[in-house]
Point group: C2
Chain length 423, copies 2
């Protein structure tokens, strides 16, 4: 029997999927599965989908119930979700969660507790919503050394960037539209500033490199500085702007996990991932390049992942099997500092429109040991000349040095944006 903590969007989605696909799910498990109780905040509130289900506002009713062998945590947030999950494990219950916050921050503690009490701990829905990615990474790609993961893992920002690309409109306008459609929250910070993607990046990086990546290890940059002009230049140069969660193995230098906007070639499989869809691109030394695509959020897609975990755990219970995979962070990899990572860069800046400007800019790049692929002066904006430079692959620290030199040049009005270019 299952106990569900939380009856929000995902909670009611899980109930709906368990109900509507009941017959097939029972066949797959080899036994009928039922929901013993759902923890809700307000027990007096009417809930359409939960009419025939036992509701409670007391977590003890679920956590102390000996009939319940699987706890599904769908409350979100760090506390008391973490404490409830730990208590459930201590009581010998298997735990399933969709909570990226708690996995990204307390994954190690949860895995230790699960191991200690010999229970399953699963969290497929925490990254990519319905897209199977945790199990594929841990099991289906287990033969590979993963060198790179690039993921579009936040639907809100992908919707916004898609609209900016297709309609040419600016950030503020698109944010309002996304809020009106319910794709962005009233306070959109967690999405647009990249924090949501960073949590998922930490989880993906940990599994890919079998080393513990915590949220604090992830460098984060959101999409708030992306202008219509950047999108337009990207298009002109054959790129699409995407917010990516990137986990890359730099060998002896360590691994780096980060979130930032990227100019991605329009022929890249991730470039065609539009609107609120998510996709995770993976490079392994056996499989080569692969990609997993689908809906990264929403009640039913997320429930698809949660219920898959429920089925897996229930199958283990029915067949008397032990949890097999568990924590896979058996390595201790050093972190590669962001300054040591390499990439090409797009740099857009405004300068005084006078002779010799291009020369002094090129000199600043040269002094910083940054080799340029192209520098073009394109148009006038408010009496300033707009210049777009694209570098060859170069260390991040050198680009930062170049930016510092440029900012100090009298002819440079401002650096409008610096965006990484993936080839």
């Amino acid at each position: 029997m299952i106990g569900i903590l939380g009856s929000g969007t995902v909670g009611s989605g899980v109930v709906e999927v368990l109900k509507s696909n009941f017959a097939d799910i029972s066949k797959r498990i080899g036994r009928e599965i039922s929901i013993k109780a759902v923890l809700v905040r307000d027990i007096t509130k009417k809930r359409k989908n939960l009419e025939d289900i036992n509701l409670t506002d007391n977590p003890d009713d679920i956590l102390n119930d000996g009939d319940i062998s699987i706890i599904v945590e769908l409350m979100g947030g760090l506390h008391p979700s973490l404490e409830y999950m730990l208590r459930a494990m201590e009581a010998g219950k298997h735990v399933i969660t969709a909570n990226k916050d708690v996995v990204a921050q307390f994954g190690e503690q949860l895995f230790s507790k699960a191991e200690e009490h010999d229970v399953d701990f699963m969290f497929e829905a925490s990254v990519g919503g319905g897209i199977p990615i945790i199990t594929p990474l841990k099991e289906c790609l287990a033969a590979n050394k993963i060198s790179l993961i690039m993921g579009i893992v936040n639907g809100t920002t992908n919707y916004m960037l898609t609209k900016m690309t297709e309609d040419g409109c600016d950030y503020d306008e698109v944010l309002k539209e996304a809020q009106a459609k319910g794709y962005a929250e009233a306070n959109p910070a967690a999405d647009v500033e990249g924090l949501d993607a960073a949590r998922k990046a930490a989880i993906l990086g940990s599994i890919a490199f079998n080393t513990r990546i915590k949220l604090d290890d992830v460098s984060v940059e959101g999409i708030t500085s992306i202008k219509a002009a950047d999108i337009a230049y990207a298009k002109e140069l054959g790129y699409v702007v995407k917010l990516l969660a990137i986990a890359r193995d730099y060998g002896d230098k360590g691994v780096n996990v980060r979130v930032h906007p990227v100019f991605l070639p329009s022929s890249h499989p991730l470039s065609n991932v539009k609107d609120v869809f998510n996709a995770i691109f993976i490079r392994g030394n056996a499989i080569g390049d692969a990609m997993f695509y689908g809906r990264g959020a929403g009640a039913l897609p997320t429930a698809s992942a949660v219920v898959a975990d429920i089925i897996a755990v229930a199958r283990n219970i029915v067949s008397g099997n032990k949890a097999v995979i568990g924590c896979t962070c058996y390595n201790k990899r050093p972190l590669c500092a962001l300054a040591d990572t390499e990439s090409s860069y797009y740099i857009r800046l405004w300068v005084d429109d006078e002779p010799g400007v291009l020369g002094s800019i090129a000199t600043a790049f040269g002094k910083s040991d940054v080799s340029l692929k192209s520098v073009i002066q394109t148009r006038m904006v408010d009496d300033h000349a707009e210049i777009v430079a694209v570098t060859h692959v170069v260390q991040h620290r050198k680009v930062e040095t170049a930016a510092e030199l440029l900012r100090n040049l009298p002819v440079v009005v401002k650096i409008c944006n610096i965006i990484r270019v993936e080839e």
Copy 2:
């Protein structure tokens, strides 16, 4: 210990992956894994990758070896692969194969035998090469009722159609190029006539609908009739031509599994799958639309899937777990006849260039109860007028009736092609 049957491309790929990722694979299993012997055809032949491995040309050396608990069948073909696998199971050995022929034709027999002897039977590499699709379908998407699978599952034909689309060249020219590059075999029939894709369609359909689909249940049409003109019209109308393996649930009418070329909207995720890449698009009632993308063939990608199966089976052995998933064909769904399936259709035909022709063609469609979205007379070819008609969604049998009527019209020179249009 593992025994490998077959030392061709995939066989040496599996050895290479096991060797190069040995440390990580051992950690993932919790024990070191080793290859006891490899069955080869010619034991005197030098093999670079297998120098330190025990080779034999006698299958009994492997099948009767009590130290070997996992048999990996990579010989291909129906016989004696089937017999070796059955013998292995009878001896209590777990069996892993990459052999789509034998799974599509003798899947039921193999599963029964595996169940009888309580061993694992796994075949991730049989569809989509390295792309994880069997395990995701059986486990990660287990919460869903699957209504549709559309797969680009044959790299040769996808390469050819991509070249025809990008370079505008004709079928024969592209086939020669594909053969020169090693993407197509000297006798390309199995690929270009759709048989390879049909085997994979049978496997995907069986798993998606939990009902046994045999190779004979799959209707098959290849790409040999696709002309440069069809590709050009597709592009003009906003489509891309792809050879798809399709498994669709028609509810009470049953399920239909087929392989044929399709006009796919250029915005569809499968449309961007180019060259030898494969992808499987899945629609489920919880997850919505999802797609799995990667390399569908090649030594290392296929080995990635085979070794993932090895790791899964080895983990079960180490932890004392029983095989959990096994055969999932617990339903008996009726088959929906091809004539009863529905689609839009593109029809290209040559007619005499005289007044009233469009009228008599439209009448023939009308008599067959086929409603047209558009009919356009486009160009002259050898003194004939070329006409392209696109229908609304209609039963296949009605389109066949219309084609028969058209063929009997004196003004119709010939029907050049009829291709389904997916929206």
